[in-house]
C-alpha cells in the first residue's frame, strides 16, 4: 500500500489575490460531493501539470475544518524557486481541473494543552488560520502572535482580528513593532504548548528562546517543510528497477523517480515525515542533504537519502529503488 496515493479530482472554484505576493486558491470536488474532514494543521499535496513537467507541492489547508464544501490554500509567490508557486500564480484559473491529495496532518494540535501559544511569520500563518477556527469552535484557549513585514503583506491579519479579537497580536516590522518572545513565554501557564510556523530563522529563534526559558522540547511544535531547491542536474541508477534517470535542474529526485514510473511512498514532500527515505547502494560524490529527517549518523554514513528535498553532485549514485 502506498502512502500519499489517495488522490481527489478537484476543480479550482476561485483564485483570490490576497496581496501583491499571496494568492488564495479554492478547490471543490469535481463530483460535487463533500471533501474529507480534516484537522487544523493538515496539508494537501497539489499536483501541478506544467507542460511536460509534474510537480507535487504540499500546502497547509487554511479553511475551517468545520466546513468541507471546499479546501482553501494560500501560496506565496517565490520568484527564485523551482517554479511551483509561479505556475500556480500565473497559470491556474477558476474552472481548471487539478488533482489534490487527501489531507495529512504532520503539525497537529496537542489537544491536552491547557493553552495553545502560536507564533507565525509571514505565509506561515496558514495552518494557524485553520487551527484557530477549530479551537474557537470548541472554546479552546489560544493566543496567536503574528510577525509581518508591513500592513500590506499581513495576509489574513484583518480576518483573524475580526474572528478572534484580542487573542491575535500583530507585529509590523516596518513600524518597528517587535515580538518580545522571552516576555510572552515567561507568563504562560503550566501545560501550555507552543507552535511555530514561519521562515527557518524564526523557527530556530523560537526553539532556542523557548529552550533557554525552560520549555521542554516536547512542548515546542514546528512546521518545517523545506521546499525542494533547484540545483545542478545529476544522474542516478535505480538498482531494483534497473532504470537510469537524470534529475533536472528544477526537478526533485523524488519527482524524477516518479517520472520514471516508480511509486515510492511519501507524505510531506518537504523532508520531515521520513516516508520516502531511500537506501544508497553506492556513491562517488557528495550529498546535498536538505531534509530534517536523517540523523547526523545517517548523513555521515552516506547510506541514506531523502529524495523529496535532497540532491547529489558527483560521478555516480546508485539507489535501492
Amino acid at each position: 500500500m502506498k502512502a500519499g496515493s489517495n488522490r481527489i479530482e478537484a476543480v479550482v472554484t476561485n483564485v483570490v489575490a490576497v496581496n501583491e505576493l499571496v494568492k488564495r486558491f479554492h478547490f471543490e470536488r469535481a463530483d460535487g460531493g463533500l471533501l474529507p474532514t480534516f484537522s487544523g494543521g493538515a496539508h494537501i499535496v497539489v499536483e501541478m501539470r506544467d507542460d511536460e513537467k509534474t510537480r507535487l507541492n504540499p500546502y497547509s489547508l487554511m479553511s475551517s475544518p468545520l466546513d468541507t464544501r471546499d479546501f482553501r490554500i494560500s501560496i506565496r509567490r517565490d520568484d527564485v524557486g523551482r517554479g511551483g508557486s509561479l505556475f500556480m500564480h500565473r497559470k491556474v484559473k477558476p474552472g481548471d481541473r487539478m488533482v489534490i491529495s487527501n489531507p495529512v496532518n504532520l503539525f497537529s494540535l496537542d489537544l491536552r494543552a491547557k493553552k495553545h501559544l502560536m507564533i507565525a511569520g509571514g505565509i506561515g500563518i496558514t495552518p494557524f488560520v485553520a487551527q484557530t477556527s477549530q479551537l474557537a469552535a470548541g472554546s479552546g484557549n489560544f493566543e496567536l502572535h503574528y510577525a509581518v513585514r508591513n500592513d500590506a503583506l499581513a495576509s489574513y491579519a484583518d480576518v483573524l482580528k475580526e474572528r478572534h479579537g484580542s487573542r491575535i497580536h500583530l507585529y509590523r516590522d516596518d513600524s518597528g513593532e517587535t515580538l518580545d518572545l522571552a516576555r510572552v513565554l515567561a507568563t504562560q501557564p503550566l501545560g501550555t504548548h507552543l507552535y511555530v510556523c514561519g521562515p527557518a530563522g524564526m523557527i530556530t529563534w523560537v526553539r532556542n528562546t523557548a529552550a533557554a526559558a525552560g520549555w521542554p522540547a516536547e512542548r515546542v511544535h514546528f512546521e518545517h517543510f523545506a521546499a525542494p531547491q533547484p540545483g545542478k542536474p545529476f544522474d542516478v541508477r535505480l538498482a531494483v528497477s534497473g532504470v537510469d534517470i537524470q534529475v533536472g535542474e528544477h526537478e526533485s529526485l523524488l519527482e524524477a523517480i516518479e517520472a520514471a514510473g516508480l511509486d515510492p511512498p511519501y507524505l510531506c514532500r518537504g523532508g520531515v515525515c521520513g516516508q520516502c527515505e531511500t537506501n544508497v547502494i553506492s556513491h562517488d560524490g557528495k550529498f546535498l542533504h536538505n531534509d530534517h529527517w536523517l540523523s547526523e549518523e545517517d548523513r555521515q554514513s552516506g547510506c541514506k537519502i531523502m529524495p523529496c528535498v535532497s540532491r547529489f553532485e558527483g560521478k555516480s549514485l546508485v539507489l535501492e529503488r
Binding site: 513565554l185 515567561a186 503550566l190 501545560g191 529552550a211 533557554a212 512542548r219
Partner: protein, 196 residues
C-alpha cells in the same frame, strides 16, 4: 529484560528554567545534596525544596537548608504536602522545572500529580534512591496496596493473592497485581521477599 512500561530513572541534572522545584523523601535527600555540587552558581536562589521526611528523616534537614533555597518546606508525607504542591503548580508558569528523588512510590506519585498540572513525565528529572518496595494496584478490586516487598503479595483490600507484574501505570503510579492462583485457588506458591 525489564518490561518497557517500567519507568527508567536517571540522575538529577540541572535544567535551564526560570524556577526549580525539588522534591525528596528521606532516601532521596542525598540525591539533592549530590545534585547541588554540579548545579550552577545561584541555582537555589530560584528553587524550592519540598522535603517529605517521614519518621526518621530529620537528620537531612540541615544539609538541605544549607543549600539556601528560596523556599524550604518540610512535611511528614505526600498526603500532607499535597495541598501546598497543588497550589504551587496551579500558580506556576512554563519555565518551572521539577526534580524528584527518593523511593519509587514517591517518584510515581509526584509524576502523577505533576501530569495533572500540565508537566509531562518526560520533563521531570527523577532519581531513584532507597527501597524498591512497590505500590501495587489489584486489577480485580482496583485497591492500591502500599509498600509491597513480597512476590506474591496479598491485596490489602480484597485479600486475593497477587502476582506483582513489572507492568507499570503512570496514571495509577502503581504496578499491576493479578491473581496468581486463579486457575487453581488451592495452589499457594511460596512467598519471597524480593522488592527490598
Amino acid at each position: 529484560m525489564t518490561m518497557l512500561s517500567r519507568p527508567v530513572y536517571g540522575v538529577l541534572t540541572p535544567q535551564t528554567g526560570k524556577n526549580h522545584l525539588l522534591i525528596a523523601d528521606a532516601d532521596g535527600a542525598s540525591a539533592i545534596t549530590d545534585f547541588a555540587k554540579k548545579a550552577p552558581p545561584g541555582f537555589f536562589a530560584s528553587a524550592e525544596i519540598m522535603y517529605l521526611d517521614g519518621p526518621d528523616g530529620a537528620k537531612n534537614v540541615q544539609a538541605l537548608k544549607a543549600l539556601s533555597p528560596a523556599r524550604f518546606y518540610q512535611g511528614p508525607s505526600i498526603a500532607a504536602a499535597l495541598p501546598r504542591l497543588r497550589q504551587l503548580l496551579a500558580e506556576s508558569h512554563m519555565g518551572l522545572r521539577l526534580y524528584v528523588a527518593g523511593t519509587e512510590g514517591l517518584i510515581g506519585q509526584i509524576v502523577q500529580i505533576a501530569n495533572e498540572a500540565g508537566i509531562e513525565y518526560t520533563a521531570v528529572q527523577t532519581e531513584h534512591r532507597g527501597s524498591l518496595a512497590r505500590r501495587v494496584q489489584c486489577v480485580h478490586c482496583k485497591g492500591i496496596t502500599e509498600n509491597v516487598t513480597t512476590q506474591p503479595c496479598t491485596c490489602a483490600h480484597c485479600g486475593l493473592l497477587l502476582l506483582v507484574r513489572d507492568h507499570y501505570s503512570r496514571r495509577y503510579a502503581a504496578f499491576q497485581g493479578v491473581c496468581i492462583n486463579a486457575e487453581d485457588p488451592t495452589e499457594i506458591p511460596p512467598t519471597e521477599e524480593i522488592f527490598r
